[in-house]
Subunit: 364 residues, 4 copies
């Protein structure tokens, strides 16, 4: 059986990770080309990674690359159009977080893929991160009794690309960028696609005030229908490298797991060295040296799963509906941060982008 | 100079810790007696610890024991009366958390001591815990830039004594019991007795539903006047032993510190052994073995400081005003948990006990 | 290009790990059958893992299975004959540790493969364990200056199969079983296949006296030509689960890395659960929960590398010569433990099995 | 009862620690003066710490200071004379490690104190370090079954004072300086003053070759009469701050404990700060921030114990005989490192200083 042909949309940080993951860990897939708006950047990416084709025209890329799968690693504001174009041409879609800028977009994205009989996977890698999946298995075995409180942190010192800081392009700040992980993971851990019933949130801009209107530090409390809560803490203002860690509390036990410092070799170097972990900064002195960063975060496993879904006609474990549900909770979080009120779900505000609910309503 | 004579009010878990702390680490103090409502218990405590006097009558104890200092380790609902009685007879007071059941009580307690020219210290041991104090020193040196986010967790599987579960005696659950620590510590770390301007909170009862109306799991977000926030997570539903840990985020760095697992020896025992740490449960298999538990939590340092204040006529670092400020924030937290709204401070509700603000208002 | 056909020799603990590694991570390989001396066990293994062929006749398996590669996961005393048979029939060989029982065997094994133009890889997975390889990369970058002291521990509570305890079948105890890892890794870390110049060792039998003559606790100090030392600590008497950890000391820095506790989620469970980590025992209470155990130890990477060597006619990174060098150092270690003397290398004793050098010489 | 008057001999790193320990934690003691060979240094030390007397004449200090106890924190080569002088004038003695340069000295030191009816304590603080003492208590409870293997590491980047590097003044390098701790602690943990029966050792000079003839990295394996071993690893070549850690292996369990990194707050600072831990170097980036360093190492507890012994006429837990036993094992370690042979005890070489056994015998 021939390899499944994948077109990569985007040539930034996350596209690099997807490409490495395909090439090292997904033997049934072949990345046949890359698109990004800047043709030179696309060509450079293709050249660096040995891809035969590069494109700066989205539709042409989708139509002519010979792909069966479109893997969307584009800035947030381009997600909607990219899915619509892929679906129009009969391509299966896997899409990076966050799913969309509005619920209307989300609904349309889901609908077009559904009508065309196409797979649509929401690429939440934490649902595949092996350490966290090990934890989920324990929970499934009953090791922790009933879960009542989850915590997920994802924090670093700020994103790699400028567009993240422009809320018109990103739709929001650190919570929009990283809170989506925690929120998706709470739903995944609790199982059965639990309904969120309310959200409380606090947001602020601490470190990047001159650069963005977006929040760079947030706390979100999501309450689910069975009473369990998830607390997502996210930041672009946290120095010293990436944090991705969880705490799981059940009536029969607890688990603490950490993907970065908790897996790392612990190094002291007078001279420093090339790279310790994502956003680590200087590597002189003590550092936490991470290894197999993509694997430990679940990217290869996620992509492997999607390619299998496409080849064997299975339903992805994480779908557009999950992406939409996360987006709805994030909308409620911005609303709560803006109004100071606990926001009940379902919540379907009419806004151009999530962060408006905070920016437009917060007390001066 | 003679030793300062201390009368201990209370003979429970915390009284044991205070007594050990005085005897081992506060050479200038002498515990001359103990009072508790149950005379047999008082006598047993005195006998066990070599105290000469025991009492079951509060006023008599204060008047006849010869004490200069009254150390209040009584259940919460007895705090107010105990301070009033001590002050009436001219005794300096150190009082365990939480300060009082109502702001009216708090104000009166402060006033009577003030008028009588007596020292009144609020015994927040986290302001003396040596690891946390080391962290505070770093912050003071500028190692972390400006603090913008603090987190403190204090969690275990539930209190030792029945009265904690009766909200009429305790005034509240896990947050009232332990959230006071985090809230006091946020103020202490930020320095200069910062004003809290708002509080958001979520509370629930998970594990002890049959036993208490009080919350046994809570998340409280306190916003201070300079924009920094403190997130206090507290639980009586957390198995596996005590957690007391902090995270400190500043614009120039971060610190993680943990008083229990983070100090412990890591032990594997097939047979088990007597005691691993507070609330650890079974000691077979792996355990985190804590040492010098009282010292590491700051109790001896706290009591040493107060005795020094008494002897050298200094102002305690943590006062009744601090205890009152913590109480006000806790009241706002119950109100927020009850109403789902962010509560602005100053906040002065008229209630018999803090938890009423949650119990009476929360949606069914 | 067709998949490379692999015949697995052995159906024990390590064969399971190799099989899982091939199936999940080595898409260019196909395991076509399994041999073990017990035909029923072979059939059961084949059935469990979906292999089409099972054998209880070694030569027949090699000749008729259609394999191009023989992967030897047999008890130590069968290594020599298995390699000779494989080479006789023109099969490439990858062989688990320890390489052989004697240097004479080792030399013959190397020679027959060499003469037949066959690949012979010594399957030292620590040379592929991703965390340790990350550490090696740092060292290569100069992050630690010059290495002068390495430590590797590999310890658990004793092997899975009875033959390990019979020194006639195993050739030695915990050091022969696990010290080979540390010793191979010292050579790999120092680079350039450094000559060992002397060995000091201490061995004892602590926990399994009734079951084996073999040592179940050992310390080995290997001195290399540049003056650097490696200290290998190995045990079959260490409770609480597997330990595989390293310390690397250089003139410019240090690294600490741990493959089990150092990667694990930290779990507390009242009920317990199925499996925490290799040899963990009971999973009630606190446990260190490991994930992707084979991947984190380097097995898939090791097998992937060998299949690539076969397919692309490359030289394996770890060869029969390396296996022999490790064996020589282990012989010197038994000699040192037996005589109390530092043993200089080259060292070529005439013994039937390594442990005789300790058993026959040690003072009663 | 009046305070016990202590004269401090020495004004270096360890004298500072002793002084702080007395002043903060030993209320029954009063340091009445300090002696060091350099009068200006003595005066500066006295002034800094508020001591009334300083001396540059040893005998005069002992005779005129009014002391009852002499606390010896002098360089190694001065230990013998200091004890003799103290005993001559009827002073109780507590003496820092290592006990003496030769067994002849040790015997005389013990004898003179014994004859004069004076207390002589060997100040091994690890016998009082609260985390390690907690571990010892577990062992005593039977939590680990029978101990068979102990490991103690003490490593840093090199001593504070020049005399350590001159082997005529120190008697040896890193092992003499720090191996004494591990060796004393092995005996203490095993209990009952167990006889050491043999020693194997490896030593080398790695980082400080231009500065000292002494070893700056060592591994020592001590075998005790019941078969248990202790492995002491010591270094002056280990960057990144102090390491003091232990591993305890028994037939019923294991313990890992670490006094520095294992107690520390974990800090990331862009600007750095004053002090992270002993020998930590630069404090920018990640550091392990230790707190209550003296307390956690056991100094106050050790001194408190000795003062109690003096006041209540008790026998110190660690005596001159213990110091002598440690010295004998260190002599055997140098002999083993020099000859490559396991050295049996009792071992009573006639040398001017321990390291001669290594320097004079090792192969070039």
């Amino acid at each position: 059986m021939a390899k499944t042909k994948v077109l990569l949309l985007g040539a930034g940080f996350i596209a690099d990770i997807h490409l490495e993951s395909y090439q090292r860990f997904v033997p049934d897939a072949e990345v046949v080309g890359v698109y990004t708006r800047n043709g030179e950047k696309a060509a450079a990416f293709a050249s660096k990674h040995g891809l035969e084709q590069s494109f700066d025209d989205l539709e042409k890329a989708i139509v002519t690359s010979g792909c069966e799968v479109v893997d969307i690693c584009l800035p947030n504001f381009l997600h909607h159009q990219a899915v619509l174009t892929a679906a129009k041409h009969g391509k299966h879609v896997i899409i990076e977080k966050p799913f969309a800028m509005t619920l209307e977009q989300a609904d349309e994205m889901i609908e077009v893929c559904d009508k065309a009989g196409l797979k649509l996977m929401y690429a939440e890698e934490l649902c595949f991160a092996p350490k966290y999946e090990r934890v989920r298995q324990l929970v499934h075995e009953g090791a922790l009794g009933d879960l009542y409180h989850l915590r997920q942190c994802e924090k670093h010192s700020g994103p790699h690309s400028d567009w993240f800081y422009d809320v018109n392009l990103s739709g929001g700040g650190a919570m929009m960028d990283m809170g989506c992980h925690g929120i998706a993971w709470f739903r995944w851990m609790l199982g059965g696609r639990p309904k969120a019933i309310s959200v409380q949130a606090h947001m602020m801009t601490v470190m990047h005030k001159g650069r963005t209107k977006g929040e760079d530090d947030s706390v979100v409390i999501v309450e689910f229908e069975n009473g369990a809560i998830g607390v997502a803490e996210n930041s672009w203002a946290k120095l010293g490298g990436m944090d991705d860690s969880v705490e799981v509390f059940g009536t029969g036990g607890v688990v603490y797991a950490d993907l970065f410092r908790g897996n790392a070799a612990v190094t002291y170097s007078e001279e420093g060295y090339g790279y310790a972990m994502e956003k680590a900064g200087n590597s002189k002195g003590w550092t936490f040296t991470i290894f197999e960063e993509a694997f430990n975060q679940g990217y290869p496993q996620e992509l492997h799963h999607f390619i299998e879904c496409v080849r064997e006609n299975k339903t992805p474990k994480v779908t557009g509906e999950d992406g939409r549900a996360v987006l709805e909770i994030m909308l409620a979080a911005y609303e709560s941060a803006g109004t100071g009120r606990k926001v009940a779900l379902p919540f379907h505000p009419k806004v151009a982008k999530p962060i408006d609910l905070w920016l437009d309503q917060r007390p001066s």
